[in-house]
Structures are given as C-alpha cells and as structure tokens.
C-alpha cells in the first residue's frame, strides 16, 4: 500500500460561522490576510517535505474562491514541490478539466511538472464539486462529457510525439497540438480520476486509470469499487484488478496516546464542520442528474430537506462510518484493515492529515506517527501486488 499526505491548505482564521453565509463562493477575501497566508504556505510546504522525509508521498488538490482550500492553481504549488522534494511521488488530484477552457494548456502544465520533478508526477483529474461551478463560470450541464473529452485530448497531447496533431471534438477544438516539453514518464504520467458515484467509477475502470474516492465510507465505497472492477473487466483489461488501481481518502490522525489522537481527530473534523455552504451553491441546476434531483425533491417532500453536508458528524460517527481513522497506531492499523477487507482492497491511502486549526506541531506528530508506526505494517500486510475484489468474491 502506498500512502499520500494530503493537505487542502485551508485558511482557518475566519469570523464566527453565524457571521457569514457560506465559506465557499461568497465569503469576501477581505477576511484573508496575505501575510498570514504566506506563513501558512511556508508551513504547509514544510509539512509536505516532512511527509517525504518520512517516506510518505505527496498529494494536493485545487479549489477556487473558498477558505477551505486556498490552492486555486494547484500546478503552481506542485511546481514548487517538484523543486523542494526529491523522491516522493507528487499527486495532483486533481485538475478540474471540465472547468478549464484549454485542455492542451493543462497537458503542458503537467508535462512541465513531470520534467521538473524528473518523472515523479501522478496526474489526477476531477470533475469538480458543485461549488466550483460559479467560480469557474462553468456550465454545470454536460460536465461529465466535457471531462472525458478533455482527458482524451490531454492524453493525445502527451502521446503525440511526431509533430503537430489536431483535435476537433464536441467541446474542444485545437488545430496544432505539439507540446514542449513532453512528459518525462513514458508514455505519460499515471492518470488518476476521482469520482464518488458508481456510474463514474465504471468509466474510470474501463480506461484502467487509478480510481480515487473521498469519504465515501463503509456504505458508499463497495459499490464504487465493484463498479470500477466491472468496468475494468468489461473493457477486456483482464479478470484481476490490481489494488494499486484503487485509492481511498479518509481523515487520518495517529497519536502516541489516546488523548493526543483524540485531540487531533477533533481538530481534523474541521474538514466537515467548517464546510458551511448555502444550499443553492451545493446543488446548482444541471450539476446533478435529473434522477438525483427527483430523489432530493422526494426527500424534501417527505420533510427531509438538504441538511448541512455532514453537519452533525462527530469523531465517533466518522470512525463508525469509515470516513475517519484515528487513534494510537494499533487502533488505526486495525481500522484501516477492517475497511480494506470491507471494500475488497485498495492500494492507495490518501491521508487527509491537516485541517483547520490542527497546528504544525500536531500535524507533524500525526504524519510521523503514521509513517513510523502504521505505514510499515500496512505495506507488509497489503502488498501492492494484491488483487482487489478477492475478499468480496470469496465472501460471495
């Protein structure tokens, strides 16, 4: 199993929640103090370097117009990391290509980073959450179709090495594609795609790309992985899906004592509890399929309402539903092991290891405790050569 330290580079110095409507999209950037922000970047970059020193890989992501993730141009930060680090794999998860107007430009950025890092790039692509729609001014309809067409174009740009090619698709048009530099890795960097829906996962499986899913827990994850494995097999990629094709992102905090671990876990929960977002930004027209909207209306009609995303979540409920692993090393190892077997196996653990007010010292403690006390056991227990879905098949 490979582990990845993931930090959203949040800006946590915010007014009380009742004084603003939404932490995303509308919170005025007057609230952001660039001097504090600069110190935060120093710190977060340092934490990624420490992760590398401890043998853990590096992951970052991109969001826009939000205090939850002040990394609106992830390739820029990735370029810095390419020079600040020397051995860790560098995962961007990912480029929101349904919201980017020029996929060829994205191909160029990724190729440049791959060369800058001497072939350490893992290139991820995401559709983007609903709150990205307005910041990107991106049409919420047909995003999935744009996403896949953009990805095809990017792969073409990476792998066409004999002079200009062209692309005339449904959404993107490019008459002269001949990027310099080309990627360091051949034929191109590993491709990751994140999705939290079973339908999306089958498409990722059919391409054989690495599938990541975020906080989908005991309940949602098995169907997503099943769907990936089915998509993989149906596309003729073979019977066995290697575990290294699957990734799971959870909040993770390891402490050297129960009390220390609990305190860290409580602070990590900021990921969920700080995410105050207006309902009309959470579900913009056209973002979710019609059937999903009908389901929501049926829920509303039954008095359910949208509720706040995870607003009632606690550390205990997060552990119970499989979105958080925390505790002393033994406990965290057991929690991950249970989850691993429940979902049929996965080869990449994305550690949401810093959030909100979890300070530098505690973040580093969590990284080191995981890296030294848990990671070696995971690597031994769950080899990268394992086949995903075997447990599930055996149980059936």
């Amino acid at each position: 199993m490979r582990a990845w330290h993931f930090s959203e580079n949040a800006y946590p110095f915010l007014p009380p929640q009742d004084q603003f409507e939404s932490i995303r999209v509308t919170l005025p950037n007057r609230v952001y103090d660039p001097k504090k922000g600069a110190e935060l970047y120093d710190r977060f970059l340092r934490e990624w370097q420490i992760a590398e020193e401890e043998g853990v890989n590096i992951m970052l992501n991109e969001h826009h117009q939000t205090a939850t993730c002040v990394d609106p141009a992830a390739p820029l930060v990735l370029a810095a990391l390419a020079r600040l680090t020397h051995k860790a794999r560098l995962l961007i998860l990912g480029n929101p290509i349904a919201n980017r107007r020029q996929p060829v430009r994205v191909a160029e950025e990724m190729a440049l980073i791959d060369v800058l890092s001497k072939g350490r790039l893992e290139a991820g692509f995401v559709r983007g959450v609903p709150t990205e729609i307005l910041p990107a001014n991106s049409n919420p309809v047909r995003m999935n179709e744009r996403h896949w067409e953009a990805l095809d174009l990017i792969v073409q740009a990476w792998t066409s090495n004999d002079g200009p090619t062209s692309f005339e698709g449904r959404f993107f048009h490019h008459r002269n594609i001949n990027i310099w530099p080309r990627p360091y890795q051949s034929p191109h960097p590993p491709i990751w795609v994140s999705t939290t829906s079973a339908g999306g996962a089958s498409q990722v499986g059919a391409h054989g790309y690495i599938q990541a899913t975020f906080l989908t827990g005991f309940k949602g994850t098995p169907a997503i992985y099943d769907s990936y494995r089915k998509g993989w097999r149906d596309a003729g990629k073979g019977k066995d899906v290697p575990v290294d094709r699957l990734a799971y992102a959870a909040m993770v905090y390891v402490g050297d004592s129960d009390a220390k671990a609990r305190a860290g876990a409580e602070k990590l929960l900021w990921y969920i509890t700080a995410n105050k977002v207006s309902p009309w930004f959470r579900n913009p027209a056209g973002y979710s399929p019609v059937a999903a909207n009908v389901k929501m209306m049926l829920g509303d009609a039954a008095g359910g309402g949208f509720g706040n995303f995870g607003g009632n979540m606690t550390v205990d409920s997060a552990v119970a539903n499989g979105t958080m692993f925390y505790g002393t090393p033994d406990k965290v190892f057991e929690q991950i092991k249970t989850f691993y077997h429940h979902v049929g196996g996965f080869g990449n653990l994305l550690l949401m290891g810093q959030a909100g007010h979890l300070d530098h010292e505690d973040t580093v403690h969590g990284i080191r405790m995981f890296a030294r006390e848990v990671y070696p056991r995971l690597q031994q227990e769950f080899p990268d050569s394992a086949i995903s879905g075997r447990d599930v098949a055996a149980a059936e």
Partner: protein, 263 residues
C-alpha cells in the same frame, strides 16, 4: 387543447394547440409550459394558439448538439415551415421572448406582430454589473420574490407533485442552465440585429419584475424601431401567469381587432 409529439429533425417536440383564428406562436419562460394556465384559454379566444415545449423542457427531447437559444430559434422556424404557417403573431415570455427576438431577426417577414413579455437576451448595461440578477446564485425565496408580485403564488407544494412532475421540473432547470449560462442570459450579437424588426413590437413587463428591470426593458426596447412598452400592475416576471386578465387585455389592445371580423 390538443397535445401531440412532432418530429423535427432529431427532435421530438411536445406541441400544444388550442383555439381558432389567426395563428399565434407562444414561447414559454424558463419554468416551462403549463396548458392549464388561464392566459392560454384567454389567448385562444381570439387565436389559434400554438405552444411548443422547448427542446429539453416538458416532454420535448434535447439532442446532444443543442446548447443555445439561437439553436431553438432555428428549430422553431422549421416548426413554422412544418405547420405551413407563413405569417404568425409571435409572443414569448422571458427566455421565450429571447427565442422570439432571435427568430424575428432571422425572418422578420414571417411575423405580423411580436410581443415580448419580460424578455431577456441582450446586454444593455455596463460590463461590471449583470443586467439580469444571477438566478443561480440566490435562495429560492429570493427568486420567488423576483419572479412574482405575490411570492406566495410561486410556492410549489412538493407533496402534491408526482415523480413525473418532479422530473420535468428538474429537467427544465437543467436545460435552462445549459441555455443561459454563458454569456449569461444574452447573445452579444442579438442587439446588433434587432433593427431588422419592422413589425409592430410590444415590450411588456410586470411592475414588480425583479429580474427584468424597467431600465433594462427600456434600453432593450430602444434597440427596436418604434417599439412600445406596456406595464402590468401587481405582476412580477410572469405577468401572463400572475395577472392573466390584465395580460390578455394588454395583448388585445396591441393585437387589435381580430383579422376578418372588422373593427
């Protein structure tokens, strides 16, 4: 009221017809066409009313290639050919008004009169402010206040809707986003074509319309030679739905005596 599905190229179009007399093509707003609305029967007292559900709305299909208001204008010019309607009265509300304006700039000779109710479609103000408030960035309650003089009339009781009706609402919203997202609620080219409208044109607006302001409508109307403006009291963005009688009276005043029946 007669309802049928009509095949136009790749599109299966839901089409409503009622009344008799001079043909009138009615183009609905972003919330879709509801045949039971009182204004439909009032228009049908004087006209053969032809009312399609736009592609992607109601039961009309949405082909992959269709993504703009201008595309729909072309579909409806084909519809007029199919129905052999050489000359019609054209009425459109909100985005339906935008479709109507696009159609009229392409084939002005086909329309004897044009009525635009709370129409969108042009950019008339400065670059740093939206002409039309962003309907995708407001809570439902605020949108209801923009759309209706009496927002209580906007309330939809979800418990009284069938799943099929919910599906249509969700799909209408999706198609609306597809069509008006960017440039938001307008076609930058349209205002440079509006001088082609040589037929009598009426711009109508509910006095309490929170989406189409009086200033916007005046600037829009100024782009059309000789256009008139009528205001409907105690109505929001959808005066034909909120004040059907006042709407019908204003339409009758604009459209004049029924052709063939003298003064």
């Amino acid at each position: 009221m007669k309802r049928q599905m009509l095949k136009l190229g790749e599109i299966e179009l839901e089409l409503h017809e009622s009344g008799a007399g001079a043909p009138l093509l009615f183009l609905h707003s972003g919330s879709g066409f509801v045949a039971d609305h009182a204004f439909v029967a009032l228009l049908a007292e004087r006209h053969r009313v032809v009312a399609p559900a736009h592609p992607g709305f109601g039961y009309s299909t949405l082909p992959d290639w269709l993504d703009s208001i201008d595309d729909i204008a072309h579909v409806y010019l084909e519809l007029l050919d199919r129905l052999d309607l050489q000359r019609v009265t054209l009425v459109g509300a909100s985005i339906g008004g935008w479709i109507a304006a696009e159609m009229a700039t392409k084939s002005p000779e086909r329309f004897d009169k044009l009525a635009l109710i709370g129409p969108v479609g042009v950019k008339t103000g400065g670059a740093k402010q939206l002409d039309i408030p962003d309907i995708f960035a407001h809570p439902v309650e605020a949108l209801d206040r923009m759309r209706f003089h009496d927002p209580a009339k906007a309330k939809i009781d979800l418990t009284k809707l069938s799943e099929e009706e919910m599906r249509i609402i969700a799909r209408n919203n999706e198609t609306l986003a597809l069509l008006v997202w960017e440039p938001y609620m307008h076609n930058p080219k349209l205002k440079h074509r509006l001088h082609r409208l040589t037929m009598p044109v009426l711009f109508m607006r509910g006095a309490s319309d929170g989406l189409v302001s009086a200033e916007y409508l005046e600037r829009y109307a100024k782009l059309v030679p000789g256009a008139r403006i009528a205001t409907i009291a105690e109505a929001g963005h959808l005066p034909h739905i909120e004040q059907p009688k006042a709407f019908a009276a204003a339409m009758a005043a604009f459209l004049g005596p029924i052709p063939g029946q003298g003064a």
